[in-house]
Subunit: 337 residues, 2 copies
Amino acid sequence: MSAGRATPNLSRIAASLGVSPATVSNALSGKGRVSAEVANRIRAVADAAGYMPSQAARALRTGRSGVLGLVLPDISHPLFPQIAQAIEHAASTAGYGVLIADSRGDTALQTDAIYRLIERGVDGIVIIPRLGTRIVDIGCPMAVIDSPSTPGNTVSADHWQGGQQVADHLVSLGHRAFLLIGNNPLSNVQNDRIGGIRSRLPAGVSAEVLWVEKHDAEHGAASSLGLATRVASGVTAFACVSDLLALRALTELQRAGVRVPEEVSITGFDDLAFSAAVTPALTTVRMDLPRIARTAVDALVQAIDLDAVPATGSSGVPMHLVIRQTSAHPPGHPAAD
Amino acid sequence: MSAGRATPNLSRIAASLGVSPATVSNALSGKGRVSAEVANRIRAVADAAGYMPSQAARALRTGRSGVLGLVLPDISHPLFPQIAQAIEHAASTAGYGVLIADSRGDTALQTDAIYRLIERGVDGIVIIPRLGTRIVDIGCPMAVIDSPSTPGNTVSADHWQGGQQVADHLVSLGHRAFLLIGNNPLSNVQNDRIGGIRSRLPAGVSAEVLWVEKHDAEHGAASSLGLATRVASGVTAFACVSDLLALRALTELQRAGVRVPEEVSITGFDDLAFSAAVTPALTTVRMDLPRIARTAVDALVQAIDLDAVPATGSSGVPMHLVIRQTSAHPPGHPAAD
DNA sequence: CTGAAAGCGCTTACAG
DNA sequence: CTGAAAGCGCTTACAG
């Protein structure tokens, strides 16, 4: 590099204008201690010179880095893109950058990740714990996004209400025999979703919960969930706690010759990238991630400004049902329209 | 917060030991200008005191932030988790943090994202352009990950060779009628993959390319690719340039009553999260992302240390075929085992 | 409304 | 091997 004319600094542009660095600083930060005309002249020159304030100097002086950390137990989770995008957008709107830290799926490394972030000087951390991991309170503002059932939660989707929407939808379609599929009985999120579903099932409707093993991905294929048997014994609605599970159900059922949605309905959660692309397209429930991210970031920013701990509000952000083609009236049920 | 006993700084621990800040700095940075015993004592005290060097001060002094930026045209791409994880790991191994920037799928915002990163003082940027976007040369080291066919490329997977593996596999299985499916005729990556496949198709094998529209996701379902018709006209191998497309093909075909892999084979690329979970599990080709990330980050770090522009090597990192259950011998072909 | 001064916490030549 | 000094580029009381 070593280009001719490096980026100028505050003093340089102050000198070129014959004013003090303090005045330039004030003019540029718009704190209004400078006359309008001088401020304008300063801004013009700064722009023309391509002035970029040094974040390092500012951080050193103010004690604030302007950077937020984002920690997830597993960056490779398929929901990560949506989350990262929402957080990044909310953060950059609030004037913050986002530093990522991965704990590679290992909960033990979560604490390491948090420490690395703190060492880098982040002003606050958005954390999405996979399980009900106890978040150790480092002396750093944190906003945790999980389920309202998780203590210390700052904001979350209302998974319970999301579950209710699934149930209402499926019940109104005429389904009377449900299989609820999850893969982690310890997850508050999954339990909320399942609890929400059950809470809206009228008397006379059967619903069993199937907790499936997490297949270890890598090269091996996932094992069969034995769903065809369930169909044989009368289940017509498969409500899964995630789209990944729903996709697994869909393909397994299709492979077994069961027709979806003519014979059974399938629903998921999260509206992952593939959900609209499969045939039939997956009926699912999506979180309002932009709003959740905004809430989390706002809480964090406020805590940073006040130098306090973020409020622990269990506000549940409503979820939205996305009705697509995997859910329809069960066989023998008169179409409603 | 305002906890009692804030984190100590260099001077404080120097004072507590009766040595100079310079000595503490030297001892801690291990540059060896300090006697072993003094160095040990200093390290012990620093550890005990929980000393954390101020990144801001260090950055201001050295002119290096120790942070790398990661730019993708669309953070919500399903491959993002794998990429982010690989980059984050490579970067943190090299002692760098990773700041993300999203251009929300809009190529025009890519430049904005890069600028935001530079304003934040990143030392270098890893960029993955979606199309053959011309990357403007900011005065900042950049490593671009794309296809070897892209000018300015620093490192990439050998998509062509990946395509060849797909072709070899499918041909050895006995397939003679291919449909190659892509969704972006302008993408170097897709063209390389398809080119690689074609390059290994023996005479007498038919292969047509189908460029499908990118369905706009959101709520609408993807439209039919009309794949059943292709089966009727004799196609037995569907080679897709991505797993998303392969999944679309798989479900569409299953839905149409075509049996996979008994009647047709399907292959994808990238080994996305769902690929091992579907039934039958998807045969796919995966990139060696850890290695690609390491190469990109190393090139960047070297460029940063030398204050130079990263080498433009078009090294293609080999891809790996992951054979799963969507590919098998076509009907009428004798099983090889 | 504007300026002079101090200082955030490091690191790096430069002396000794 | 160790220390004194300067300085990275800002911002923020404090004077004027």
